[in-house]
Symmetry: C2
Subunit: 139 residues, 2 copies
DNA sequence: GACAAGTACTTGATCAGTCAAATATACTCG
DNA sequence: CGAGTATATTTGACTGATCAAGTACTTGTC
């Protein structure tokens, strides 16, 4: 009773866990940033005008709105992101990278890229692209 | 400053999060089991003699030994797994599926397979196999 | 324009997992 | 054999996330 899709999901989970754990120590050591924090900063950096509402961050990161609230707090205290009110909707707000945040995300991404390249040294660039394509294709 | 490997890792994380969250509700709803619990039970089910030491479980699942200790407790209380002492090493123990556990993992896997197939409906069987191969290849 | 329903976010309680330290046992080598 | 080191597990304190409930605002309908 083997199911190719479910086997793939199990593999996805372990590979993800291994890579995240590895990057966590490398990024954390260099920049005092967790993997999920870097993920959040990258989402901001990649957004048009480097600005997103918490809800959109939640959707991008596949976490809950509640998780976003809690993730943002320490980043805001450290002056890495900033919140401003959303002129279109008073319930919401807009989260932006500060100048310091832009520098940090740049540096941390560089470290992460380097480490990732090492972790994936067994795959060719083509295979990595293929992997990314397949993951994106899922949904 | 784009890095194919790191982009792929970011994608890996979000896709993983989405799938895990989805399966969590489906498996949880039907069998009262979390995704990571099912992962643990599957590791046992797939082990020779359906028996593993906590350390080996930790390695298989890519979590810490500490995490295994805590994951096993509720499963043991529910009679899904059982611990016995390791005759080779008094520091360690052996974790096995109970009869009830074997039934449960079978049923939950069926549910999970079904849900996963739906989640991955946009990929062909060949693409899913390819995805799994690439993930395995990484490390 | 008021009221119902929906959406955006926050908060309290909880959970799964981490790390560091403690404990217990095993292994190695002089 | 015994000392020192290494390994297996557990525990306490903590972190990052969840869910459910609450607040605040917006939207759609009559």
């Amino acid at each position: 009773m083997e199911s190719a899709p479910f086997e793939a999901v199990l593999r996805l989970a372990t590979t993800n866990a291994r890579i995240v754990r590895e990057l966590e120590t490398r990024i954390g050591g260099h920049h005092g940033l967790g993997f999920s924090e870097l993920r959040l900063l990258r989402a901001l950096a990649d957004a048009p005008e480097q600005r997103l509402r918490p809800t959109d961050l939640a959707a991008d990161l596949e976490i809950t709105a509640s998780g976003v609230t809690r993730a943002i707090l320490p980043l805001e205290k450290r002056g890495i992101v900033k919140r401003s009110s959303d002129p279109q909707d008073a319930r919401s707000s807009r989260v932006t990278l500060t100048a310091a945040g832009r520098v940090l995300v740049e540096q941390a991404s560089a470290t992460a890229s380097e480490s990732t390249a090492k972790l994936m040294r067994r795959l060719s660039v083509g295979q990595i692209k293929q992997l990314e394509r397949l993951l994106t294709e899922i949904g």
